[in-house]
Symmetry: C2
Subunit: 515 residues, 2 copies
């Protein structure tokens, strides 16, 4: 053998213990994706040849994680003997006092080879979706990897069989409820319409009529209020599985927050990355909706698809395509679906924001004169569909049953009983800071931009400030005079009120007036 | 209008100044993607409704950036009045002393709507690729967004017209050189083969024969050495454009680092995300290679495609497909290409690592007896192709010309002249720590795993430690006796030597022996 130079080789010492570092909690929330910070001059970094954004495996005594690496190249945020951990990295590793961590390059994951397969146009099996979704829930895929998965599956690139496999995989990775009833009804709204808070009314009517409707709802992700946020202004929603079961056994239904149940935990993670990409994939939407329904143990589900130019679904054709996809996959996983394509042209009711929407809900349930007719009508439409899919009646008879249960106070009494069972009924509050936004001229309301209106409500503090949001004074077609209020902003602090007002002044097109 | 309650509305104050925060440099390298850290309890976070991983716009007095948000939920890494900036955020904003920053939601970018179009199966125009690549280079797209772009373009989803548009867009966003010569030759190796350091030899031969070859090379990204790393152990490579031009005018060629030239700056950013995803997209590879060649002002390019089971290109079919794609796009942008599909079954030469490969290069140029025959032969093959594509001779005559220029010392003299012009020639060094890895039994070398061998060289410190790497004692087919050295690890520190040895002991299959 030819050697390079006549210098004698030195004997190496026995392979050293891999370098270890002391964990330091940084307090940085990087959401689901664990991030660790290493100093550029640390022996670990140099020896492994790590670089920024590498995926590395961090090994504790009893746990290990795969994390994204950030490198400290200046300053002394962490000491020479330390590794910084984001909150998710800290929670997953949960290091004991004095514990030291080891590091190595992350092994290529099987699930990413499936993602690459999908990128290259392969058809994925249920086992492959199980591997991908399992790794996403376990935090083993980074957001960059999840983004590649989503992009590969969007644009109609999933067959019905694949959407079904994805849906099943999302159910497999979380808790799954079962109920001792042949028919368990549910409803779901595709969303995008401020104030469309029909769920508490529909649950009250359906359960008053004897149907079983163990409703779990989500909190707002991008909207000013989710159903769970709204119901929370009137009763407890963070029930555990046992408490939920007790309420359903006693009252036939409930209105709780699904987040505590760990049903389809991948859904939230996928939605967050989809939102970053502003990607609306029909296949992902179908899997998202149906996995939650299947995990909740529903058997018969009514789907409300509000359709309009500033709603989530923008055209009738899009709504029909989504509905067909929902029904194909629903059928495959044993869910009976009934879809309703509804008008999504403008907000529903008066209130936008958790407590403000609760006031609308209560007005409808209590049959008060000022109850918004549009919310009442939509709730009855959906309740009738639930009655029908639940097998109690058909057509006009189903609508009459739903109408009667609302009109004669049974729904309101059932609502109160459910709230009592969940921990007591209380009044939604009213915000301390309110400011009207007035019409700058006489005119007729030509259109309302759902998205801008939702932004204004969020800037006023909704949903984190429960009583914040806005109270809508007009609907499309109403005539209004110069100086009359278009809507009233509600906020819990002056700063947030000012912030929302500033936005409103910069966006005069939120409510469009014509002569 | 119906109002909620009889409380009189309070008058809002005039819209407040948007909240501002004081920038704090965190020293964290998140590579190209700017990251900012806000406290969860900061008024900015609450007012805007920001959440982890949101994309937000950060506005200074004269500059603004789009950054990814991390949220501080515990501890006091940054103060209540501060915002933490990653290194790339700090560099791009470059805040003055006392400057305060403002924040708002990032506007949806046009380029991401094009990316979504591609995800949904649309054909993108050159203007759309320009917008995407421009935003990537300007740091306005996050890695998550770049990942979606790459996934949407991979798997054969780009037409030749699109690959051409992408290539042009990558050229447009950077510097572009031009030369006063009708024929400017170049060569490029697709890579994946340790030690395949033909470039300095080919440049020396081609320019000795009178061709113009202003060669720019990259540093290692995933390999133990890039051509720029190797040449840097012998002369300066970080020349500016003016110095490079002076060298080429004097000597007909150069061997410099392309990184300082800002040619096709998107390429590095795309490659880093592709690597995270372990995605090899033919279209991206074509655009990557050809954009750099076009930006360098080349007109005639020889492409070396080493093909083998552990090389980058694994089969002859894959090599042919890549070559065809390169030629189609090359033709469209006015580049003459000649492809060589070469044996990629094992490493080339003896040295793996910057200085170790330089020793091989020098041995070949100096016609030394111990010069590795395989490196010499490959360099001559490529040089002959360069001579031919450069129009000096054809077939055997081209090979004879190249051979003569190497054998009679013209290439070696030209190499020295180029190095002198670049700043002087120096000897590549030798590492202080060396340790042989010996055969555990008698046998014949059946195969060498390029990837594992490269990993071992990197763990020993290459390319950041210039003299680190390994010196290969055997090639495929060689017989070796028990206890004889398969290779010698070279390191600049005992820790790195131990680290590489540990890896080697855990991977006995790096060199596979058979009886």
């Amino acid at each position: 053998m030819k050697t390079l130079a006549p210098v004698p080789a030195v004997a190496a010492s026995a392979p050293a213990e891999p370098f270890t570092l002391r964990p330091r909690r940084l307090g940085i929330d990087t959401h689901h994706e664990p991030v660790v910070v290493l100093r550029a001059d640390s022996p670990v970094c140099r020896a492994e040849g790590f670089e920024a954004h590498a995926r590395i495996e961090v090994l504790g005594v009893s746990r290990s994680i795969v994390a994204t690496l950030n490198i400290l190249t200046a300053g002394d945020l962490i000491g020479p003997d330390e590794v910084g951990l984001s909150e998710s990295a800290w929670r997953r590793l949960d290091p004991a006092a004095g514990e030291r961590l080891r590091f190595r390059h992350a092994q290529p994951s099987d699930s990413m080879s499936h993602v690459r397969g999908k990128i290259y146009g392969e058809h994925l099996s249920e086992n492959q979706f199980d591997a991908i979704i399992g790794d996403i829930v376990a935090g083993r895929l980074s957001n960059v990897e999840i983004a590649a998965f989503l992009a590969a599956c969007a644009g109609g690139r999933m067959s019905t069989a694949e959407v079904t496999s994805l849906t099943r995989a999302m159910v497999h990775t979380g808790s799954r409820m079962s109920w001792p009833h042949a028919v368990v009804v549910d409803k779901h709204c595709i969303g995008g319409l401020p104030g469309n808070r029909t769920t508490p009314i529909v649950v009250s009517i359906a359960t008053a009529l004897g149907l079983v409707m163990p409703k779990t709802s989500s909190r707002a992700i991008t909207s000013p209020a989710g159903t769970a946020d709204t119901v929370e202004t009137m009763t407890r929603v963070d029930l555990g599985l046992d408490d939920m079961r007790r309420v359903v056994e006693a009252e036939g239904g409930c209105m709780v927050w699904g987040g505590a149940m760990n049903m389809s935990p991948a859904d939230d993670l996928l939605i967050r990355v989809e939102r970053t990409l502003d990607l609306d994939s029909e296949g992902q939407l179908v899997a998202s909706v149906l996995s939650k329904k299947a995990a909740a143990g529903s058997t018969h589900v009514v789907i409300d698809i509000p359709t309009g130019p500033t709603a989530k679904v923008r055209s009738h054709a899009e709504a029909q395509s989504l509905l067909r996809a929902l029904q194909l996959t629903g059928h495959a996983i044993g869910l009976q679906l009934h879809g309703l394509v509804t008008d999504g042209g403008q907000p529903v009711g008066r209130g936008v924001g958790p407590a403000l929407e609760a006031h609308d809900v209560l007005a409808v349930l209590q049959n008060r004169a000022e109850a918004p007719a549009d919310l009442r009508q939509r709730a009855l439409l959906i309740a009738a569909a639930v009655v029908e899919i639940g097998g109690l009646a058909e057509g006009q008879a189903a609508h009459d049953m739903a109408h009667a249960a609302l009109a004669d106070g049974r729904a309101w009494r059932k609502f109160q009983a459910i709230c009592q069972a969940q921990g007591g009924l209380c009044e939604p509050g009213v915000a301390a800071y309110r400011h009207p936004v007035e019409a700058s001229r006489d005119g007729r309301v030509a259109s309302i931009d759902n998205r801008l209106l939702a932004r204004a409500a969020k800037l006023a503090g909704a949903p984190h400030a429960k009583t914040a949001g806005l109270w809508l004074g007009v609907h499309v077609g109403d005539r209004i005079g110069h100086g009359q209020p278009l809507f009233v902003l509600h906020a819990e602090s002056r700063g947030e009120l000012d912030y929302a007002l500033d936005f409103v002044h910069r966006h005069p097109g939120i409510i469009h007036l014509e002569s």
